[in-house]
Symmetry: C2
Subunit: 228 residues, 2 copies
């Protein structure tokens, strides 16, 4: 859930006393570790990259690496955590009139757009996240860890939706189900985006998500025996 990236690698704001040197240094180290890990994973693969390599690329000890990340998986998934936080934030801001699916769809589009604008490049950029998704998808242990995070995320989304609609998620299954449906649409989009390299880049992904969303109406209600 915690997805920090240094606000900006600049000196403390002249006016208010921002976070101290110690804190800025930590954020910088953390970002550097993520960046190095990402680069190494992409060039050599996840399994072929040792924690020692990552640590020494940033010139810290292995022990320090494990003070920032509980395990090797976490540093890989950290990039995605940023995108997830964006999404949750955008979803929170959607107007109450929208129904859950509308809100989620809008939030996804917005979060990708804003993410693209604010993190053009480097770890945290949309491109990075998508590159990572490829690696995740064919690294069993990473995929497992990713799905666990995704399950957590779904529960957060379900609670959010329940709150929007004024429902108790313990009583009413609908928020849970709709969150699961949404999650599965995202995953299906990821998978087919990974498979077809026709639709490359963020635009392709957004297009795919849109197309899958369009199928949702017919999927959730309707006569199954005849084409939508």
């Amino acid at each position: 859930m915690a997805a920090q990236l240094p606000p900006a690698a600049t000196a403390p704001a002249a006016g208010g006393t921002g976070p101290g040197l110690r804190e800025r240094k930590k954020q910088r180290t953390r970002a550097a570790l993520i960046e190095a890990a990402h680069r190494l994973f992409l060039s050599q693969g996840f399994a072929q990259t040792t924690v020692d390599e990552i640590a020494s690329a940033v010139d810290v000890s292995q022990r320090t690496f494990f003070r920032y990340f509980a395990n090797k998986d976490e540093v890989a998934l950290a990039v995605l955590a940023i995108a997830e936080d964006y999404f949750i934030d955008r979803l929170r801001r959607r107007p109450a009139e929208e129904n859950p699916l509308q809100a989620m769809r809008a939030a996804i589009v917005e979060s990708w757009r804003d993410l693209g604008a604010e993190h053009r490049t480097g770890p945290g950029s949309v491109t990075s996240a998508l590159e990572l998704l490829q690696i995740i998808e064919d690294t069993p242990t990473l995929l497992a860890a990713h799905l666990r995070r995704a399950a957590e995320q779904e529960r957060v989304v379900a609670r959010l939706i329940a709150a929007r609609e004024g429902l108790d998620p313990a009583e009413d299954l609908r928020p849970t189900v709709i969150a699961a449906v949404f999650g599965s649409v995202l995953r299906a989009a990821h998978l087919s985006w990974n498979a077809d390299q026709e639709e490359s880049g963020p635009e392709g992904m957004i297009a795919l998500i849109g197309r899958y969303f369009d199928q949702l109406g017919p999927a959730l209600a309707g006569d199954w025996r005849h084409p939508a």
Copy 2:
């Protein structure tokens, strides 16, 4: 996907030449490993049990353990694999007239019932599977591995449903979505069964699954702003 348990620990059938001694021995070792692991996990916890302990409980070398299971997770999840195979098998046999949800619901009930009848006790029994679920739920690495398997399973179910309905899963999202909904209902039931210890044992679980299923109609279509 491979969920074997020895057909019966008896001598080869008098008539036809069944599997040879070598094969029977392997199945016995495999079952013994699962059983020992299960017992140890329940009594000491997953993390506190080393592979060496499991192996020496069955009197084989650690190396041999890893020839049967790719990793420690796998031996824990093996019990669930049996239940999953049962479900898939029952789903395959459901009559074509039923709609997907009806078929899945019936298949789940049948598979639990049959599982209970055929494996009263020991690994592979319903009780074992449910005990395991508790451990899985609060062991992060196991939960992750479990969710990965569940995702695979969902894809299998989606393909099955697509075949039943004569649809192409690449074209039509509905099978994927309905499989995801089903998976999420199961998981929600697991979670609340884990939380409330009121509903204990297999019957409680079946009851919970039924209750969740009943909510599905209203959840999948209908006016969200008013109670079902």
